[in-house]
């Protein structure tokens, strides 16, 4: 589904439906023409149903579930409607600025500057000014979309700068110390066993559970923040994490016993070894999907 930019022709939208949605969106408030609003609806429909045009009922259900007011506002802003911009600046500015600050004081400012310029549309294509608003399809709230755009840009910027950081020279203090003696064979073997067992156990988990674990352990989000991402309560997140941990432990222990012939003591030692070994990095052991 993702990654394909090919868009199929959107299904026809009945004029009566367009009119109804137009009224629901309050698009007239911004002076947005009905034809322009219909174009926004079509674009959203094409974006959602890239693979195959939807049936009439699917299209109606999808369009009816959009954030129509935000879609109309975005469409009006993209077309330079003055009252729409007034409203956008007044109502969305504080949230956008606050969201940008999450990327850091300096970076946040630059990101918001850049985003704002793109929302206005500083580039023209075929003589038409292209606004970032054109990429808002109403599937989420305008506020949420702005936050997502900001977050993606902040992450991309951070990752780009990280790639440009020079690698430490051999022998510099930042380099992990090389053990003077080769590790004992048994220790290495047990580490490899735990790593393989844990990686396999994690791969067996449903994607949602792995995402929950990653957000909690890798991104170090608090339970409440994980819940905000996944739409779960804090208690639910906690309960499901505990269940995952128990399931993972049982699966890793089973694999260590059955595939590596370890007894209870050896399993416990292997766990302890893995936990304290600085080179134990499961992320590198997990193949990308």
């Amino acid at each position: 589904m993702r990654g394909s930019r090919a868009s199929t022709a959107a299904a026809e939208i009945a004029p009566a439906l367009v009119r109804r949605l137009y009224d629901r969106a309050g698009a007239a408030r911004w002076g947005l023409a009905e034809a322009d609003f219909e174009a926004s609806l079509r674009r959203s429909l094409a974006h959602r149903f890239r693979e195959a045009p939807p049936s009439e009922r699917e299209a109606e259900e999808y369009l009816g579930g959009l954030h129509l007011a935000d879609l109309a506002l975005a469409g009006a802003c993209a077309r330079g409607s003055e009252p729409a911009w007034e409203h956008f600046v007044h109502d969305f500015r504080p949230a956008l600025l606050a969201a940008a600050s999450a990327a850091g004081p300096g970076a946040g400012r630059e990101l918001a500057d850049s985003l704002y310029a793109d929302l206005f549309g500083t580039e023209e294509r075929d003589g038409v000014r292209r606004s970032l608003f054109d990429y808002f399809h109403g599937r989420c709230s305008l506020n949420g979309w702005l936050r997502a755009v900001l977050a993606q840009r902040a992450v991309d910027r951070a990752r780009a700068s990280r790639r440009l950081e020079p690698l430490p020279e051999p022998g510099t203090p930042g380099e992990p110390s090389v053990p003077a003696q080769p590790p004992e064979v048994d220790r290495s073997r047990r580490l490899v066993a735990v790593r393989a067992a844990l990686a396999a156990a994690l791969q067996q988990l449903p994607a949602r559970d792995r995402l929950r674990l990653s957000l909690y352990y890798a991104r170090e989000l608090k339970l409440a923040a994980v819940g905000r991402v996944l739409g779960e309560s804090e208690a639910t997140v906690s309960r499901k994490l505990a269940r995952c941990r128990t399931g993972l432990r049982q699966e890793v222990e089973r694999r260590l016993r059955e595939r590596h012939g370890m007894n209870d003591t050896q399993v416990a030692d292997a766990f302890e070894l893995a936990r304290t070994d600085p080179a134990f990095d499961l992320a590198r052991a997990l193949p990308p999907e």
Binding site: G144, T246, D281, A283
Partner: protein
């Protein structure tokens, strides 16, 4: 059983060590921002969500974006027009023409601020200041009592400032209907005094008593918190030329008004002087005012304009409801002055400790005011103020009152508290 718990704890530590770097990455393309946001907002259909989750579970980039989104402040927790979160860079184009507009608001505020307790009797009618003072006149008429104290340097008149500052303001001068609509809307007018003006002793000559209708002639000045002033503006040496002496800024301001529409109104915009290097900010065309926007802004619940924090002193004007509204001025020194004659005269109504930041008046004689460290004040007769107990010593930055019983205050940490019983109890 205990052994199982120990093992689970061991697994927790193991996962913490093993997953510290997150997943290595994903081979397929990341979802667009709207899909990511729809996922967080739980508006994706189940098949879509389930199709997306394998990617999210294995993509470091998406997880980082999700994590950042999860730590962003919730929009509902952010009061609209919170000036403390209004960096000057927001509308690069606006500030150019709002800089001189600042002078008009500042001149009005300074006059009031410098003589807060006294009964002020200006010898200029506000109309003459705004509309009829000759633009060529280098020196405006002086207020009695000040001309002897201050050197009679030639400074631009208020009319010159107004004219130079804002073509939009000038356009709207004649729009009496709009002024009336604005006047009838209860709201809070935030005012600060411009350091550029305050630092000049002669600028005090420009000071005129604050009048709501005068300020509303320049809408940008009315609705926009303007830059900070020094706490003690009196007798400070001239440090900067007056705002109107910035031909570049003015030229740009005028040029911007002719450009295509790009951004919204002056609501909450915080005009500041251009600094070196700021030209790199995105250049967008400055918007022009519209009656609909003004009405919408003034009628919006975000009538509460809190003042900026942590940058010195600042005075705010709270306008009461009704056709002949009372005005309250919140001084930095935790003093409240009231005026029943559109700012011609002011009476000290309250003095105390702390910092007053913002107010809201839901009905003619009712006003709520909030400030630092949980300070909440309320008047129900327009004259006497009573402290309202507040459960936490939070810095309060905004208030929106619905009645003398019901009000919602916004704390600096984004939390909101509401009372329905005049402050006896608060709920978050």
């Amino acid at each position: 059983m205990a052994r199982d718990r120990d093992r689970d704890a061991e697994m927790d530590r193991l996962l913490r060590a093993a997953m510290s770097d997150g997943p290595a990455g994903s081979a397929d393309a990341c979802p667009a921002a709207d899909e990511l946001s729809a996922y967080v907002e739980q508006t994706l259909a189940r098949p879509e969500r389930e199709a997306l989750e394998p990617h999210l579970a294995s993509c470091e980039r998406c997880q980082q974006a999700l994590a950042m989104m999860a730590t962003m402040p919730e929009p509902a927790a952010i009061p609209a027009n919170a000036p403390a979160r209004t960096p000057s860079w927001w509308l690069a184009g606006w500030r150019r023409w709002l800089v001189p507009a600042t002078a008009l608001a500042s001149a009005a505020i300074i006059y009031v601020a410098l003589k807060p307790a006294a009964v002020l009797q200006p010898n200029l009618s506000p109309d003459s200041i705004v509309a009829t003072a000759p633009a060529e006149s280098p020196t405006p008429p002086e207020a009695p009592g000040t001309s002897q104290l201050l050197p009679g340097k030639a400074v631009p008149s208020a009319a010159q400032l107004a004219e130079a500052a804002s073509p939009r303001a000038k356009r709207e001068e004649g729009n009496e209907e709009e002024k009336e609509a604005v006047n009838e809307t209860p709201r809070v007018l935030a005012r600060t005094r411009d350091k550029a003006v305050a630092d000049r002793p002669e600028a005090k000559l420009e000071a005129a008593p604050f009048r709501a209708d005068e300020a509303e002639a320049g809408q940008s000045a009315t609705l926009a918190p303007v830059p900070q002033l020094a706490a003690a503006p009196v007798a400070a040496p001239p440090s900067q030329p007056p705002p109107s002496a910035e031909p570049e800024a003015m030229a740009e301001a005028q040029a911007h008004t002719a450009q295509p529409r790009a951004a919204g109104g002056a609501l909450g915009v915080r005009p500041t002087r251009l600094k070196a290097g700021e030209a790199a900010a995105p250049r967008v065309a400055a918007p022009t005012g519209s009656k609909a926007a003004a009405d919408a802004a003034l009628a919006a619940p975000e009538q509460v304009v809190s003042t900026a924090r942590g940058e010195g002193s600042q005075a705010a004007i709270v306008k009461g409801a009704g056709a002949r509204p009372l005005l309250w001025r919140l001084d930095p020194g935790a003093r409240i002055f009231g005026s029943a004659d559109a700012g011609r005269t002011w009476q000290l109504q309250y003095t105390g400790a702390g910092r007053l930041v913002a107010g809201s008046s839901p009905s003619p004689e009712v006003c709520w005011v909030v400030g630092g460290r949980g300070l909440v004040l309320r008047t129900t007769d327009g004259r006497t103020w009573h402290a309202v107990p507040f459960p936490e010593r939070l810095d309060l930055v905004a208030v929106l009152a619905d009645s003398d019983r019901r009000a919602t205050v916004h704390a600096s940490d984004g939390r909101r508290f509401t009372t329905d019983d005049g402050g006896a109890t608060w709920r978050e």
